[in-house]
Amino acid sequence: MSAALLRRPSRRQVLPGFGLTMGYTVLWLSLIVIIPLSAAFLSAAHLPPARWLQILLTPRVLAAFRLSIGASLIAAGINACFGLLIAWVLTRYEFPGRKLLDALVDLPFALPTAVAGIALATLYAPGGWLGRLLAPLGIQVAFTPLGVTAALAFVGLPFVVRTLQPVLGDLDRDLERAAETLGARPWLVFRRVIFPALLPALITGSALAFSRALGEYGSVIFIAGNIPLVSEIVPLVIMTKLEQFQYSEATVIAVAMLLLSFAMMFVVNGAQLALQRRYQPRR
């Protein structure tokens, strides 16, 4: 067989199964994800825009959005700080129990949200292990926005740590050594050499934690107390509307939430691209 004959089929045609896997993937994706999701948008589109505003602009829904977004932002901020610290400690230092801690970071991923929810509610309840310590200081966590934030911070931690770890492990240590040789103190090295390299991953991780927190339900509802206008998150409002068979209300709020989540996805990707352009050309 001549070499020309061997080379003729393009590489994509060599492996069979393109049609099969493409068909199966697209079909299954449509059935499970695209059609159900579009059901929400189509149902909401049936309603006139005035009805939309009427549903979204009630004090209860507005308060829920304010709480969900605010608490998620604060939780993402907490996760950014402590996630960075934990990722740093886990990648840069050797100490007994490091591997155990490393595995433990994924606990919020693995622990069912309802379990986390009742555990946190019990810990922070006025008579609980932590609630008892905080009560004399005048801090009440359970049934307040603070409780919502605490639950969201629990849920989001692994996102930041797991996004940062590989980047931290891959950093070029020679750059740090060079900076040190030139006389930079550790804090300056961190601020000017290490931190800029971590920033894209830090932002990605925090943004992932934020979007997870926005939609979180199970771990929040037990500790939040769910007082309308005070400690009621958006997913709970949707749930309450559903239980009262107010489907159009639930759908409109859900679509607003979905748009917010999808907008977050785009913002994150855009920010990543911009940061990448700014910090990457060094290599």
């Binding site: 060599v14 492996l15 069979p16 393109f18 896997t21 994706l29 499970i32 994800v33 159900p36 059901a39 929400a40 149902s43 610290l85 886990l90 230092y93 591997k99 801690l101 595995a103 970071v105 994924d106 606990l107 693995a110 622990l111 949200t113 309802a114 379990v115 009742i118 555990a119 810990l123 911070a153 629990f154 931690l157 797991r162 996004t163 590989p166 980047v167 891959d170 050594r177 040190e180 550790p186 894209p200 991953a201 990605t204 926005l214 939609g215 979180e216 339900y217 199970g218 037990f222 958006v234 997913p235 709970l236 949707i238 749930m239 489907y247 759908t251 859900a254 989540s261 977050m264 990707n269």
Partner: protein
């Protein structure tokens, strides 16, 4: 490596100090926010003694919830394993337009709130939904029944296995498969004997994570289940019911089962990562790729 000449001693000292301080803070945070809730689950479960704990688990409704949880997972995990494998083969082995868009669509369920994941299936299959009236006439029940719970769980866990397999298959390329094909093996034979053995640990890893989420899912299942005791209750829903009835021993006993599942999952996951470091590295590459996007 030359150290700064003016104060070599103080530099090392401050470094050691910073190290101790940082480890201390990280450790305290993890203990306070991760270990303590876990401990609380087991302490509360055993608060009234072992006998109360065991009898809470042998309750008829608890057993029914266990069966339901196992059934839902036993259906949705294989469904997503098959999908994940097909999607990974498609994305890793071929070049085509719209691949990035397809990947975004596969990831979409991760961006959707669990409650909304349940809601969308109510809108399609519920009594007032698109197919609800037709289903009702023909005597099928999807919402407030097993099919709805399987659908919602499948949606929630949709990306898990695909996301493990795609970077792994991409890293392995097409050479092995092309070699097998050039030696005369058919497509399916190549898949079973070459591709699958190459990715089996990654697949197991994905199944592990998918299963943990499928068994622990709460929000989405809560919307479509209707909370019918002994019928459409899963373990997480059973936890909620008992907790709201102030049956704390029962709630935490059930919760401790789920916490145990989480711990076993984490243990197996670390074991797999240690035995097969490549499971972590392609994910790391993926992490970097996401960060780079």
């Amino acid at each position: 490596m030359s150290r700064r000449e003016d104060s070599p001693g103080s530099d090392t000292l401050s470094r050691a100090l910073a190290r101790t301080l940082l480890i201390g803070v990280a450790l305290s945070y993890l203990v306070l926010f991760l270990v303590l809730p876990l401990l609380a689950v087991f302490t509360q479960a055993l608060a009234k003694g072992v006998i109360a704990f065991i009898s809470a688990l042998r309750d008829v409704d608890a057993l029914a919830a266990m069966r339901m949880t196992l059934t839902v997972a036993a259906i949705s995990v294989p469904l997503n394993t098959a999908f994940g494998t097909a999607a990974a083969w498609l994305v890793a082995k071929y070049e085509f337009r719209g691949k990035g868009f397809l990947l975004t669509l596969i990831d979409l369920p991760f961006a959707v709130s669990p409650v909304i994941s349940g809601l969308i299936f109510v809108l399609v299959f519920g009594a007032r939904g698109w197919f609800g009236p037709w289903l009702g006439e023909h005597g099928y029940k999807v919402i407030f029944a097993l099919p709805g719970m399987v659908l919602a769980t499948t949606f929630i866990t949709f990306p898990f296995i695909a996301r493990e397999l795609i970077p792994l298959m991409q890293a392995q390329g097409r050479d092995d498969e092309e070699a097998a094909l050039s030696l005369g093996a058919g497509g399916w034979r190549t898949f079973w004997l070459v591709t699958l053995p190459n990715v089996r640990w990654g697949m197991l890893y994905g199944i592990l994570l998918c299963n943990a989420r499928a068994m622990g899912e709460f929000g989405a299942v809560s919307v479509v289940s209707g909370h019918i005791r002994g019928e459409t209750n899963t373990l997480p829903l059973h936890v909620e019911i008992l907790y709201n009835e102030y049956n704390f021993v029962g709630a935490f006993a059930t919760a401790s089962l789920l916490a145990l599942l989480a711990l076993v999952t984490l243990g197996l996951k670390s074991l797999l990562e240690r035995r097969h470091p490549e499971l972590r590295s392609p994910r790391a590459e993926q992490g970097k790729a996401r960060a780079a996007r």
